[in-house]
C-alpha cells in the first residue's frame, strides 16, 4: 500500500539520521573513552595500584580536590548572588555585566593564566603589594583557585538565571508583604525554588574545576609535589613514558566527570521530550 511506502520512507530517513548520530558520537567519544579504560585495566588493577601508591599522584589528586572545592564554593556563593542581582534588580550596566559573565567560556585557558600572572605575579600590577604582605598568589594555591574559578565562573549562573526568570518574584513579594526580611525571603522562598538549578550548576562546576588544565599549568608553575594537580600529572607522566600512571590518573578524572554528568542526568526531570 502506498501509505505504508510513505511511512517506510519516513522511517528509513529517521533510521539513517539516528545511525549517523550514533556512529559519529560513538567514534568520537564512546570508543576513545572506552579505550582509556581498556589501557588502564590492561594489566588488571596493576596500573591503578601503582598510581594510587605513588605519593606524588595521590598528593596531586588531593590538591585537585582542594582547588576544585575552593573554586566551586566561591563560584556558588557569588554565582547565586549575581544571578539574583541580574534577575531581580535593575541597575546601570546590568546588560553589560550579563554579557560579560559569559566571557570566561570563550577565553583560552592559557590567556587566563597569563592574565592572572600579569596582575598578581611578582612583576604584575599587584606584585609589589602582595610581595610586601608575603601573600603568594601565583605559583601557589590562591592563584590556582582563582584560575579554576575563572574558567568555571558562568556555570552556576547559567543554570540559576533562567529558573529565577521562570518562577517570577510574586512569591517573594508575598513573603515580604507578610513581614519577612531579605534573609528570610531568600532562605525560605528563593533558595528552595532554585535548589535544583544550584545543584546542577555546582555539579557542572565541579566537573569543570576538576578538569582544568591550561590555566592552572600557567599559574601554578607545575611544581611537582606542591602545585602539580592531577591533570598536570597526566601530562608529565605521559611525557616521561610512564603511560600506565597517566592512563590510570586519566581514568579517575574521566570517571569523576562522567559521574557528575550521570548524577545531573538522573536528578534532572526529562526535558525536551520527543513530540
Amino acid at each position: 500500500m502506498a501509505e505504508r511506502a510513505v511511512a517506510g520512507r519516513r522511517s528509513r530517513v529517521r533510521h539513517l539520521l539516528r545511525g549517523i548520530a550514533i556512529v559519529y558520537v560513538g567514534l568520537l567519544v564512546v570508543w576513545p573513552v572506552a579505550m582509556v579504560a581498556r589501557h588502564t585495566f590492561a594489566d588488571g588493577f596493576d596500573a591503578m595500584g601503582r598510581a594510587l601508591s605513588d605519593p606524588l599522584v595521590t598528593r596531586s589528586l588531593w590538591l585537585t580536590a582542594q582547588v576544585a572545592f575552593g573554586a566551586v564554593v566561591i563560584n556558588t556563593i557569588f554565582g547565586v548572588g549575581i544571578s539574583l542581582l541580574l534577575v531581580r534588580y535593575e541597575f546601570p550596566g546590568r546588560r553589560a555585566l550579563s554579557a560579560l559573565i559569559d566571557l570566561p567560556l570563550s577565553v583560552s585557558p592559557v590567556v587566563v593564566g597569563l592574565a592572572l600572572i600579569l596582575v598578581y605575579g611578582a612583576d604584575g600590577w599587584f606584585g609589589p603589594v602582595l610581595g610586601a604582605t608575603g601573600f603568594e598568589v601565583i605559583f601557589a594555591m590562591p592563584g590556582m583557585v582563582m584560575a579554576t574559578a575563572f574558567v568555571a565562573l558562568p556555570l552556576v549562573i547559567r543554570e540559576v538565571v533562567p529558573v529565577l526568570y521562570e518562577i517570577g518574584d510574586e512569591q517573594e513579594q508575598a513573603a515580604r508583604s507578610l513581614g519577612a526580611n531579605a534573609v528570610q525571603v531568600f532562605r525560605r522562598i528563593t533558595l528552595p525554588a532554585i535548589r535544583w538549578a544550584v545543584v546542577y550548576g555546582v555539579v557542572l562546576s565541579l566537573a569543570r574545576s576538576l578538569g582544568e588544565f591550561g590555566a592552572v599549568k600557567v599559574v601554578s608553575g607545575n611544581v611537582v609535589g606542591s602545585t602539580q594537580t592531577a591533570t598536570l600529572v597526566v601530562e608529565q607522566r605521559y611525557q616521561d613514558f610512564e603511560q600506565d600512571i597517566a592512563y590510570a590518573t586519566s581514568f579517575l578524572l574521566a570517571l569523576a566527570a562522567i559521574v557528575c554528568l550521570v548524577v545531573v542526568s538522573l536528578i534532572r526531570p526529562k526535558e525536551g521530550a520527543t513530540r
Partner: protein, 331 residues
C-alpha cells in the same frame, strides 16, 4: 468536491477516537462537525486532511480513494486553531507559500496573493510579520494561505477557538459570507452549538467517536435523533422518561390528558423570559414562557399545574430511542 468517509476507525493506544464512522459530505456546502471536546471531531477532520491515518476504513475525496495519500497530495486547505503561522515569513510570504513551492511564475503568485489579501481585508498588513497581527487577523491570513492553492476542500479545526467572544462572532459571520462568495466545500470543527446552528448548511454531530446525527440546523433542532443531540443543541428538561424543550411545555389548570401534575417551586424572570421550575413527583421540570404568557396564567409559587409538551413538539426518550411525540399532533 464531495467527501465520503467509510467505516473509519482510529485509536490512540487504548483510546478509541473514531469508531466505525461513516459520513458523506456534499459538495460546495458549509458543514460543521459539532460535538464535545474529546469526542472525535478534530480527529475526523485530520483523517480527512491526511494529517492522521485511519486504522481502517476509507476516505474518498471527490470520488477518488485518498486513503493512502499523504496530506500534501490531497489538495486540502487546513486552518488550525492556533493559526500555525510561519513566524519568520511576512503575511504576503505566508499566503504565497503554497504557490511558491508549486513553482508558479512570480507574476501569477503576486496577483493571486493580492486578490486573496483583498478578500480577507489584510492588504495593508501584507509586509508585516504574524507576530504583529491580532489573533483575528492571523486567522484571516491562515485562511487566505489555505485558499491560495485552490484546495478542493477547506478544513477548519476550531478556527475561532483561540479568539475572544466578540471577535469570534464577527469572524463566524465573515466566514459564512466568504463561503457564499468562494463556494469551496468547507468543513469546520466546533464545540459551540450556537456557532454551528448559525452558519452551517449541514451539521454532523460527533460524540464518543460516533456520528449521532447528520442534518440541517433545523432538522437537528426540531427532530433530534438521540438524547445526546437534543441535549447538545439546546436547552432540555426531562418529563417522565422523555426529554423535551422547556419552551415546548404547556401549563394547564386542569388535566388535559397526556400530562403530569406538579407544584411550582420557583418562578424566575430573565429579561422577557420567565422560567418556572416545577416539582413533578421526584423530578424537577423546567418550563419557559414569555412574560405575557406567564402573566396571563398568573403563575405563582406553590400553585399546582398540569404540564405537558405542546402538540407536535419534538421529544426524545432518555435512553436514546427514536423520537416520538408524547401527544399526537392535533389533539
Amino acid at each position: 468536491m464531495s467527501i465520503a468517509v467509510r467505516h473509519v476507525t482510529k485509536t490512540f493506544g487504548k483510546f478509541v477516537a473514531l469508531d466505525d464512522v461513516s459520513v458523506s459530505i456534499p459538495s460546495g456546502g458549509l458543514t460543521a462537525l459539532l460535538g464535545p471536546s474529546g469526542g472525535g471531531k478534530s480527529t475526523l477532520l485530520r483523517v480527512i486532511a491526511g494529517l492522521e491515518t485511519a486504522d481502517s476504513g476509507q476516505v474518498e475525496i471527490d470520488g477518488v480513494d485518498a486513503t493512502d495519500h499523504p496530506a500534501r497530495r490531497r489538495n486540502v486547505g487546513f486552518v488550525f486553531q492556533h493559526y500555525a503561522a510561519f513566524k519568520h515569513l511576512s503575511v504576503r510570504r505566508n499566503v504565497s507559500f503554497g504557490l511558491e513551492i508549486r513553482k508558479r511564475p512570480k507574476p501569477e503568485i503576486a496577483q493571486r496573493v493580492d486578490e486573496l489579501l483583498a478578500l480577507v481585508h489584510l492588504e495593508q498588513f501584507a509586509d508585516r510579520l504574524p507576530a504583529q497581527l491580532s489573533g483575528g487577523q492571523r486567522q484571516r491570513m491562515a485562511l487566505a494561505r489555505a485558499l491560495a492553492v485552490e484546495p478542493a476542500v477547506l478544513l477548519l479545526d476550531e478556527p475561532f477557538g483561540a479568539l475572544d467572544a466578540k471577535v469570534r462572532k464577527e469572524l463566524r459571520e465573515w466566514l459564512r459570507r466568504l463561503h457564499d462568495e468562494v463556494h469551496v466545500t468547507t468543513i469546520f470543527v466546533t464545540h459551540d452549538q450556537e456557532e454551528a446552528l448559525e452558519i452551517a448548511d449541514e451539521i454532523v454531530v460527533v460524540n464518543n467517536g460516533r456520528v449521532e446525527q447528520v442534518g440541517t440546523p433545523d432538522q437537528l433542532y426540531d427532530e433530534p435523533a438521540t438524547d445526546f443531540v437534543m441535549r447538545f443543541l439546546g436547552p432540555v428538561t426531562q418529563l417522565g422518561d422523555e426529554l423535551v424543550r422547556p419552551h415546548d411545555l404547556e401549563l394547564h389548570a386542569a388535566d388535559p390528558g397526556g400530562g403530569a401534575s406538579g407544584q411550582v417551586e420557583r418562578v424566575t424572570r430573565v429579561g422577557f423570559e420567565v422560567r418556572i421550575e416545577l416539582s413533578v413527583g421526584e423530578q424537577r421540570v423546567q418550563v419557559t414562557m414569555t412574560r405575557t404568557q406567564a402573566q396571563a396564567l398568573e403563575v405563582r409559587t406553590a400553585d399546582r399545574w398540569w404540564v405537558r409538551p405542546a402538540p407536535g413538539a419534538p421529544t426524545v426518550r432518555v435512553d436514546g430511542r427514536p423520537p416520538e411525540t408524547l401527544v399526537p399532533a392535533g389533539s
